[in-house]
Amino acid sequence: MTLARVTANVVSTEKHPHYTGQKILVVQPVGPDGKPKGKSLLAVDGVQAGIGDLVLVVDEGGSARMVIGDEAALTIRTAICGIVDRVDVQGE
């Protein structure tokens, strides 16, 4: 799992049926200090997250499908599985 910030949402009409009814968000991976780290990616939302939220993202198919509760959605790989309330870093 990685920490990420939700930066945008994505609207798509013509899409694979596995994504029907799913909320798709752009997430930017961040470090524990909240600074952007690496490239942004798209994730299916399993926890009612929104723009600006700090979230937990799983980028592995089996876990992502478990998060959204649809084991048959085989093309889904990335999902948001938690909204982070607080990160405590040792020494800060």
């Binding site: 009409t13 694979h16 990616l41 723009i51």
Partner: protein, 107 residues
């Protein structure tokens, strides 16, 4: 999944049967603001995308699962959706690629 822009089309006569009937498109990965993010790649299309479209694509083993000709294929990138709009933090649509209900083609 990642966001990308379709920048070209790849035509192959001689190819594996599992790609028969599928469009192969050249995709440039972009970020939510439309700037390039990484190098272009070839993806097969299952979302009726076309040149200039903003799309979402999956790269990795999950992509092969989208192939309508069966799961046993060497596809490692698939276009799974045509993006109508990307709404970034302030609620401004920055990457709208077409009118609602339209083809999503870039104007």
């Amino acid at each position: 999944m990642k966001l990308g822009r379709v920048i070209g089309r790849v035509v192959c006569t001689q190819k594996m049967e599992c790609f028969d009937g599928l469009k192969l498109l050249l995709v440039q990965p972009v970020d939510e603001n439309g700037s390039d993010a990484g190098s272009a790649l070839v993806a097969f299309d299952v979302a009726k995308a076309g040149e200039g479209d903003l799309v979402m694509f999956e790269a990795g083993k999950e992509a092969a699962q989208a192939n309508p000709n069966g799961w046993f294929n060497p596809g490692d990138a698939a276009i799974l959706g045509v993006v109508d709009a990307v709404n970034v933090a302030e609620g401004t649509a920055t990457a709208v690629s077409g009118a609602p209900g339209g083809t999503g083609r870039k104007k």
